[in-house]
């Protein structure tokens, strides 16, 4: 990736809002929040090589923390943020103990099952979650300093800051020796073990961090949507997050963010023109798998590497 891409992208994201309709802006806001959860999944999927089908659980937990605390106890934003992230991390810590005993398909199945447990709780623990009806009327956060996030533009910047924080944090994590060790584990677990790394602990910590960041995204989501329901924890949400990562390119951080943006826009803009939009979305997925199995950013990276080699040969 050229060093100029990220600043330019940021500039566009920061300068665009006043010039777009509030509807498009809300789509980008959604995409930013989904980008956070997709990036958090990328930490374990792309960097550590663990495909999880239960990632929506942490997203949902963060969202439910906000829903329950604000509507029942009138909690402020910072409290809900803290509780949401810690709760997601705590649950990830428990789920990790169970799930990380397995690898590959078995890991996938266990995370799927754990994700369904979380969904089942949201669905059936009616006294707390209001079950299927969901929790409506979640207020937009009040940050103090006289800032109101009720309108689309301020909330967009709020989400953008959240996205940047998550991105910088995850980038620091993957660039750190810890993150490099995760990549090492992805490439060869046995070699890392021989080198004296505590493989399980690395995976476990990665899993918990991913859960916590997923919870952070969930907190923002509940504030944005004003509504929380078991749908947030459903398998389809987990699959959607997984697809965002796969589409954008796993192991790239920015890729999943791009995937989130693409899916959010495809879902909402294409469906305006045709009720067969699912076909188009399906075609995009198949096209990606056939022509760019490493995702969009993965394909760009490969293409550049090829170019560099040709240049060197030239």
């Amino acid at each position: 990736m050229g060093a100029w891409v990220a600043p330019v992208l940021l500039l566009v994201l920061a300068a665009v809002p006043p010039f777009t309709s509030s509807y498009v802006l809300s789509l980008v806001t959604q995409a930013l929040i989904y980008a956070i959860v997709a990036m958090s999944l990328d930490l374990i999927l792309g960097y550590t090589g663990l495909a999880s089908l239960g990632h929506a659980a942490y997203f949902g937990l963060g969202a439910y923390a906000v829903g329950i605390l604000t509507t029942r106890y009138g909690a402020g934003f910072w409290t809900t943020l803290l509780v949401g992230v810690l709760l997601a991390a705590a649950v990830a810590a428990v789920f990790g103990l169970v799930a990380l005993r397995a690898t590959g398909v078995y890991f996938l199945m266990i995370t799927l099952a754990l994700g369904m447990v979380a969904w089942g709780l949201a669905h059936r623990w009616v006294s707390l979650t209001q079950g299927d009806n969901g929790i409506s009327g979640v207020p937009r956060p009040v940050l103090g300093f006289g800032l109101s996030l009720a309108r689309a533009v301020p909330f967009y910047y709020f989400a953008l800051i959240g996205f940047l924080l998550a991105f910088v944090f995850l980038r620091v994590v993957v660039r750190s020796p810890f993150g490099q060790a995760l990549i090492g584990i992805r490439e060869s677990e046995s070699r890392m073990r021989t080198l004296g790394y505590h493989v399980w602990l690395h995976k476990y910590l990665g899993f918990v961090i991913a859960g916590a960041v997923g919870g952070f995204a969930g907190v923002l989501w509940a504030c944005y949507q004003g509504f929380v329901s078991p749908g947030e924890l459903e398998l389809t949400t987990s699959v959607k997050i997984l697809l965002m990562v796969a589409l954008g390119g796993r192991g790239t951080l920015l890729g999943p963010a791009l995937g989130a943006l693409l899916i959010a826009l495809l879902e909402n803009l294409v469906s305006v023109y045709t009720h067969r939009w699912l076909l188009i979305l399906g075609a995009v997925y198949i096209g990606t798998i056939v022509y760019a199995p490493e995702g969009i950013l993965g394909a760009v990276r490969q293409w550049r590497m090829k170019g560099d080699r040709a240049w060197a040969r030239g």
Partner: protein
């Protein structure tokens, strides 16, 4: 010189045209209606019935309401609350619709209501039946044109105890708010009329194999009350018969268990099934007969209650718009007009809203019969002008909690 003159004439003409055209276009543009319905996913068929019914009324009336052209924008909710909320925003902010109609699922209804309040835009709920939307969690801008879940259950509980003479009933329902409300309403009036609910079984949403539940049903009951929806409605009657229960215990249920939506896909196993609802396609009135004939001609199937309520909702909008001279831009006035609509002759019968915003309408006790090789919900009894509060005083009724899994408590289980 000549060229410049032409140009300036053109420019002046253009300015005048713009000045003249734009304001009048803003005033006399089409009435825009936003429809949100599940067009993909598990409930897509029901969503199709809704849009069909809605469009049918508009097409019959030349796509005009109160002298203004009508533009309908349909958006797919995919049956998911977050998608529905995004589409709602799109319809209001980008398309600038004047009124919204839609949705099927209660939880989406609860999710949309605060947004609708925030936007201060009238929205019709033709299908969503969650009791509390017109009881304990009122939303000013939501106009319910359909029904409340427990509304048909109340008279049916009395009917089962008094007319059918059942003493003990075992209930099985789908385990979510709609199921709880339908069965809760039935239990309340059935037990107040001397009956006893001796068992309540709950199956998760989406259950299609009922064998484990059917084997638990108490054989000392007089009848079984089943509340099924969608795919479960398709499977349940057959499995009930296969389990050898049909011969012993008569099957009755909630309106959706034997709705026209599933009847064409059911076989003889459904015959004899009784259920209450505010509509039956077999309703013997000239208005309904014409509606059913036209609908079948157009869409090749019998209209379900989804179709009827959406058809009536389109007319509802028109009736309201007519009384205010088509001035739907004045939202407060429009909302007031929507709440005042009274129609004596819809396919389902006379309809008007109570002061809480839920229709007062006939409830039909229906029995599945075979006529001309097809299954129909023959109306065996009509309870006229039933309110969501049945015979109770609203204030008294609202003191009890909303029906749920454990309310009313199962005293005789």
């Amino acid at each position: 010189m000549g060229k410049r003159l032409t140009l300036s004439f053109l420019a002046v003409g253009l300015v005048m045209a713009l000045a003249g055209v734009i304001p009048s276009a803003a005033q006399k543009g089409p009435i825009k209606i936003g429809v949100i319905a599940p067009m993909s996913g598990g409930a897509a068929q029901a969503g199709k019935d809704m849009t069909n019914g809605f469009n049918m009324w508009l097409e019959e009336n030349g796509m005009t309401i109160a002298g203004r052209k009508v533009e309908v924008i349909v958006e797919d909710s995919q049956g998911q609350p977050n998608v529905a909320l995004t589409k709602l925003q799109k319809l209001v902010e980008s398309d600038r619709v004047h009124v919204l109609v839609g949705e099927l699922f209660a939880h989406i209804g609860y999710a949309m209501a605060p947004k609708v309040e925030e936007y201060r835009i009238p929205m019709l709920y033709p299908v969503i039946a969650a009791d509390d939307l017109t009881q304990r969690k009122l939303a000013k801008w939501v106009v319910r044109t359909g029904w409340a879940s427990s509304q048909p259950s109340h008279p049916f509980g009395e009917y089962a105890a008094k007319t059918l003479g059942y003493k003990k009933i075992a209930a099985i329902g789908i385990d979510y708010a709609f199921g709880w409300e339908v069965i809760g309403g039935f239990q309340k009036t059935f037990e107040e009329n001397g009956g006893q609910i001796i068992q309540k079984l709950w199956a998760p949403l989406g259950t299609t194999d009922f064998a484990p539940y059917l084997s638990q049903i108490r054989r000392d009951a007089d009848a079984v009350f089943a509340l099924m929806v969608a795919a479960s409605s398709l499977r349940f009657p057959k499995q009930y018969e296969d389990a050898g229960l049909k011969a012993k215990l008569p099957l009755i249920g909630g309106g959706t268990t034997f709705d026209e939506f599933v009847l064409p896909s059911l076989g003889d196993e459904a015959i004899g099934g009784m259920s209450p609802l505010q509509y039956s396609a077999a309703l013997d009135t000239p208005v309904n007969k014409r509606f059913v004939t036209e609908y079948r001609k157009k869409y090749g199937k019998v209209p379900s209650y989804f179709s009827e309520t959406s058809y009536t909702s389109a007319r509802w909008i028109a009736e309201a718009a007519k009384t205010i001279g088509g001035d739907v831009e004045n939202r407060d006035k429009f909302l007031e007009a929507l709440r005042k609509v009274e129609m004596p002759d819809t396919p389902r019968g006379p309809v008007k809203l109570d002061s809480y915003g839920n229709p007062i309408q006939n409830i039909y006790i229906r029995k599945v019969e075979k006529k001309g090789g097809e299954l129909w919900n023959t109306v065996v009894h009509t309870y006229p002008a039933v309110s969501q509060f049945w015979k109770y005083k609203p204030e008294e009724f609202l003191k009890q909690p909303v029906y749920d899994r454990n309310y009313p408590p199962c005293k005789y289980c």
